[in-house]
Symmetry: C2
Subunit: 316 residues, 2 copies
Amino acid sequence: MTKLLISLAALLALAAPAIAQEEAAAPSPGEIVAQAPAEEWITIPSEDLLVMTLAPAADGSERKVVIQLMPAPFSQGWVENIRTLARAQWYDGITVNRVQDNYVVQWGDSNYDNPEAEGAAKPLPKGLRVMNEADYISDKVGQALAMEDVEIDEDPYADSTFFHQGWAVGGDTDGAWPVHCYGMAGVGRGRSPDAGSGAELYTVIGHAPRHLDRNIALVGRIVEGMEHLSSLPRGAGALGFYTAEEAGKRTPILSVRVASDLPESEQPAFEYLSTGGDSFARYADARANRRDPFFIHPAGGADICNIPVPVRRVGD
Amino acid sequence: MTKLLISLAALLALAAPAIAQEEAAAPSPGEIVAQAPAEEWITIPSEDLLVMTLAPAADGSERKVVIQLMPAPFSQGWVENIRTLARAQWYDGITVNRVQDNYVVQWGDSNYDNPEAEGAAKPLPKGLRVMNEADYISDKVGQALAMEDVEIDEDPYADSTFFHQGWAVGGDTDGAWPVHCYGMAGVGRGRSPDAGSGAELYTVIGHAPRHLDRNIALVGRIVEGMEHLSSLPRGAGALGFYTAEEAGKRTPILSVRVASDLPESEQPAFEYLSTGGDSFARYADARANRRDPFFIHPAGGADICNIPVPVRRVGD
């Protein structure tokens, strides 16, 4: 694996003589991403994109959220369930039920597992897989697969932490798992051994709750419209659930569709910056060592959630 | 210094035989805090509390934010300036001008340093100190002072990271500095050597932007009402500033007062859990090793921003 801080020093030494580097203003992480060549951007399959439409905002403006589902080898049973639920239009009409500051926004059936339910829980569609907590960890990411990846030193939550095919991942001798960074989406569940179905989902709206890694299935990340979730009013109940008196604050979810099922003209298109390419390595190094003009003290390191993988919309 | 993970194992070994520990459900971090004895809670001086009143919400409800200013040895020049600005009622009538998702909410004079200013910048009161970027770091926190503190291993941003008298701190041989966790408040500034006055303030509303450590003055933290800032609509302009077209989204700040200047009946009272006590050490260990029933895999570690210092309101 490439060690982040060492490989970049070497890369820069090859790129230009030392004096020229000092004279030019160092590019910011954003400038490095903007200058990445087209071949380092990888198309996200439309089968891996979900379009979630919330009820319009108070001012009548549209609120759409796009979620990128995680590819193999992670969490594929839950990801399949989520496509099944979307295709059964099961999510249509559910609500955002929980907004806990510096933690998560969670959406699902407000009558499911709720002592104050106002009606019967919505029946789930047939064909959902019953998932197991062993599947929080994949044994399919080996040393060989990770050869091209940027590794992050000094992570308190995992023996090693690195970027693998566009995702932030932790690993040890048992396997590898996606990690809970801002904007990651996961599967709500009850007490162990329940591992959740995918009918109840959440996203992270605060500091990375990495203690949830290997304890809940992560299934993707928000790639557009995060602000429609992160700015929702916080719930006054325990764990940020809206209380019965606050039921009017639950934001309705009008529909959730797999992008590939939409008419071609309505399909959003996104790509991510390859985490195995030179631009990502330079970007990660610049995040860890800010040299752009605002900064005085480059940190000399960054935690994996402070290096978000660049994702961009294309077309339109 | 106490090493977090070692000291707690020792502490638990003293407390009870191993079998009894396995039989009892392990307390959650919140339960440990709730059970902390009164003598481990430390009163925050009312001189260190600011009450910031925002314009009421759309539904007419009150929005008050309480900020705890940082004690010596950190950032005291800026903290004094903030008290001076509050006592001159300079903050009254300024607005929240920037809300950048997963980053910061920032408030100040919308006509200051703004190419699209709608009027003249508000004159600053006399007596403000001109601060220097050398003051981002204090050389007053030595090994001796830190003897009682809980240290965190494996931080990518600082040689050592620990809790010092109620605050999360990074340090190296040059000194120590407060770190950018969720809810921390800091001083907006222009390009170096400008270090800001305290007239422009921000708070962190996303993953800890630790690359800002030692690059901006931190002056405190939000101890109540954070949700009134974190849930504000995001700005559409560069860096999350509201554009001229979005001027109506700027939330007015009606007043900012030092709590000790308020009539006694209106003074809020808060206390924090001593970071040098047994309860905090147990709480920090429980954050790093969740053993309460929801969890399957204790992480074995936590980054310093995932161990928020408990603060509670008292009285009323």
